[in-house]
């Protein structure tokens, strides 16, 4: 019959082991328990996979841009830069609040840290709200995945380059939005862990990693925004009706 070593498992109290070399010198053995550096390294590596994922999509996007430059510029001009730009500011500001929250946590201000996380969640929701307004407007202008304008071979069909532009636009902003939603979930979880005192000023790896995640999410947007919204000609308000 098996038994569990309850104490070692539950409390994660870890007494580092010592290895002794031939001269009798003692060396601390690194355990996996409470390995702050390891936790950081792991999450940085995970961020690399995200970069590769979005990188592949940027690669595809760049390839199609070289094939259909004019169409891309026209399609880009029809996006609403006020809304996109506003969202960029919102997201950058949320990165600031997230970072301040981590600083507060490290300095022992748990209450301030929680306030900052709530602010970040609020900003993330604003971002999603603006996104919803944008997509709805585009839908009403007949531009959405599955609508005639983005299908081939009918009277509303856009040229190839614009179909590809909008296909990638909805894919990439959609996947980015998905990351925002995941981020909100992570922050709510983080708040729960803080309330349960599992995340504390001395043990903040989870907070650190979620802040890192949020930085990546806004970093991706910083590339997505200019690539889709700013390459085109036309005035700043854009709007799909006025496409050239």
């Amino acid at each position: 019959m098996a038994h569990d070593s309850h104490d070692a498992h539950d409390s994660h109290v870890y007494v580092p082991e010592i290895a002794v070399d031939r001269e009798g010198k003692e060396h601390v053995v690194q355990g996996w328990q409470g390995d702050y550096e390891g936790g950081k390294l792991g999450f940085w590596l995970f961020m690399l996979t995200e970069v590769m994922m979005f990188g592949a999509m940027f690669l595809a996007l760049t390839y199609y841009y070289t094939l259909h430059q004019q169409d891309f510029l026209i399609a880009s001009a029809s996006l609403n830069r006020w809304l996109g730009g506003f969202n960029t500011v919102v997201l950058l500001f949320s990165a600031l609040t997230m970072g301040l929250g981590l600083l507060k946590m490290r300095h022992g201000d748990v209450k301030g840290a929680k306030l900052m996380i709530w602010t970040t969640i609020l900003l993330a929701l604003v971002f999603l709200g603006v996104k919803a307004v944008e997509w709805t407007a585009e839908y009403h202008h007949g531009i959405f995945l599955g609508l005639d304008a983005l299908q081939s071979g009918n009277e509303h069909s856009k040229p190839f380059g614009q179909i590809l532009f909008f296909g990638m636009y909805f894919t990439m902003t959609g996947l980015h939005g998905f990351h925002i939603i995941i981020g909100i979930g992570l922050m709510l979880w983080l708040l729960k862990r803080i309330n349960a005192q599992k995340v504390t000023p001395d043990h903040n790896i989870l907070h650190f990693n979620i802040a890192l995640y949020w930085d990546l999410v806004h970093l991706i947007w910083v590339f997505v925004f200019p690539y889709f919204y700013m390459i085109g000609a036309g005035d700043i308000a854009g709007g799909v009706v006025h496409g050239h």
Binding site: R22, H27, L45, T49, M57, A60
Partner: protein, 558 residues
């Protein structure tokens, strides 16, 4: 006799009393490795059955047992299972989990719970893949075999048009890819953080080097195929246009993105296998490995160069001539570090006291089969030759010589090498050697004729063929029967040994690396009770005897 990891375990959630739940929830890297092995080999035999079905069908020209469409689904099933469920988790999931932490003196991997989660993600991916097998038409009471018929590569635009269950298979591929990424991530952090004190990178056993190089490929290449599969799903559901020529999309882009991962993936499979070879050769030659650093660095450089050769899959798909030449050159270039390894292994054996135990037999067999697989790979890396051979049995034979004769043979070698470590018991060596002979002969009879058939123009993936190719298919068929017999024989020998094998102690092979210096056999739950200080190289032999010895507190006493 202390308790082993079979008697006690740590669990991800709670402290279940039942043995079954303790296995399901275990975070112990050794148990997780064993569970991977069980699931993987189950699927392996399913895929073998699919292959055998195709061999039966191909016994003579024309239709025998199955329809052409079923044949297409059979080779897709064979490919999807073998690639995504068997060989990609492969050696890292089994021996990376079981042995790597032991080799570096760690108590577990860096994130044991993530490891548990990863295993279940893998299972979930397998289940999703299984759901794509059939469509159930409840009202008509029909069960339709609707597995994808695209081949495991899912090339657009056909994969976008076929009405088989491609989407579920793509989802499964994505989930299995996630599992692979997380495994690699876990191992990278483990190798960076948890090495025993004193163990620098150049004091790690070479299997750990193989796992390390592999983990980087898992981490950096898998996301690319992950997103490619997602894009293909979005294309099929929403028509985003990216791979659809009727909307200006480029199907060849799918091939590029697919192979950016899937070519490095074959190095992901072979590098840990080379690592196993580098463990076995010195242990059974009783000699320090020749050119330790060159083997370690060649793993790293194969991982690096292997990232830049994907274009050789697209010679016939439409690509600029300049690109073809560059990809061809880079592909030749990969053969150099691989060749270095081979010469190092052979030089290690030179003047060694070679012991022909079963693991060594498998390793020596692999030197032959992988040499054939590797060198034929160089021939089809040439643009001109490849235009002729690309879609023929030649490529099939090359691939199976490299993957089955390389990766899987070395996986078997590792199974025989580490079996006594994992179970604390020894299998019957005589039977295991007979099984090896059957496998080795069967393998060559099965695949060698395909080189000739392919060279003469037998196209791959065909349901039917011209009568002049019949003789090759029939020889292959006989080889397949011998090979399958050998496989069943081998697994019977090993499975019986888990029950009836003789206890063999912690170090039956007299090997030098740390996993053979555990306090008991099978190992206890948290591995080394005392972690040694590593101020020695991994394979130090003098006059055929291990140099480094430890007392019961793992302090050196030599």
């Amino acid at each position: 006799m202390g308790k082993s990891y079979f008697d006690e375990t740590h669990c991800a959630i709670g402290h279940p009393k039942s043995t079954f739940m303790q296995w399901m929830l275990t975070v112990d890297h050794k148990r997780i490795g064993i569970m991977y092995a069980v699931v993987m080999f189950t699927f392996f035999f399913v895929a073998v059955a699919a292959a055998l079905t195709m061999r039966f069908e191909l016994f003579s020209p024309g239709q025998q047992y199955i329809e052409a469409q079923t044949f297409n689904q059979a080779f897709t099933l064979h490919g999807v299972i073998m690639i995504f469920m068997f060989i990609i988790p492969g050696i890292p999931a089994v021996f990376g989990n079981i042995v790597m932490p032991l080799m570096i003196g760690a108590k577990d991997v860096s994130f044991p719970r993530l490891n548990w989660f990863t295993f279940w993600l893998y299972i979930f991916g397998c289940i999703v893949a299984l759901t794509s097998l059939f469509n159930f038409n409840i009202s008509e009471g029909e069960v339709l075999f609707k597995f994808a018929d695209t081949g495991w590569t899912f090339y657009a635009p056909y994969s976008l048009n076929t009405d088989t269950n491609v989407i579920t298979t793509l989802v499964a591929g994505f989930i299995l890819g996630m599992a692979s990424i997380l495994t690699g991530l876990n191992f990278l952090v483990t190798i960076h953080r948890l090495r025993a004190p004193g163990m620098e990178f150049f004091k790690m056993p070479l299997f750990v080097w193989g796992i390390y190089a592999t983990a980087w490929i898992q981490l950096l290449a898998t996301p690319v195929v992950g997103i490619t599969l997602v894009l293909a799903i979005l294309e099929k559901y929403f028509g985003i246009g990216i791979f659809d020529p009727s909307k200006g999309g480029d199907p060849v882009l799918f091939q590029h993105l697919f192979w950016i991962y899937s070519h490095p993936a074959v190095y992901l499979m072979i590098l840990p296998a080379f690592g196993i070879m580098s463990e076995i050769i010195p242990a059974f030659s009783r000699r320090e490995i020749f050119g330790y650093r060159t083997i370690a660095l060649s793993s790293a450089s194969i991982a690096g160069i292997g990232y830049l050769v994907w274009g050789h899959h697209l010679y016939t798909s439409g690509m600029s001539d300049t690109a073809k030449v560059i990809f061809s050159f880079l592909t030749f270039f990969v053969a150099i570090p691989t060749g270095i390894k081979f010469y190092d292994w052979i030089a290690t054996m030179y003047k060694g006291k070679i012991i022909l135990a079963t693991p060594m037999l498998w390793a020596l067999g692999t030197i032959i089969t992988f040499a054939v697989g590797g060198l034929t790979g160089v021939t089809i890396a040439m643009v001109g030759a490849d235009i002729h051979l690309q879609d023929t049995y030649y490529t099939i034979a090359h691939f199976h010589y490299a993957m089955l004769g390389g990766v899987v043979f070395l996986l078997f070698a590792g199974m025989h090498y580490w079996f006594p470590l994992v179970f604390g018991k020894m299998y019957n060596e005589t039977h295991a050697k007979i099984a090896f002979a059957l496998n080795f002969i069967g393998f060559n009879v099965l695949w060698f004729p395909m080189f000739i058939a392919g060279y003469m123009g037998m196209p791959r993936r065909y349901f039917d063929y011209l009568p002049e190719f019949q003789i090759y298919h029939q020889i292959s068929f006989i080889g397949a029967l011998i090979f399958v017999t050998g496989l069943i024989y081998m697994f019977t020998v090993l499975i019986r040994a888990t029950k009836n094998g003789k206890p063999c102690g912690p170090n039956p092979w007299n090997a030098t690396t740390l996993e053979w210096h555990l306090p008991s056999s099978p190992p206890p739950l948290e591995n080394h009770t005392k972690v040694p200080y590593v101020d020695f190289r991994p394979y130090e032999y003098h006059h055929g005897q291990p140099v480094v010895k430890f007392d019961e507190n793992m302090r050196r006493i030599d």
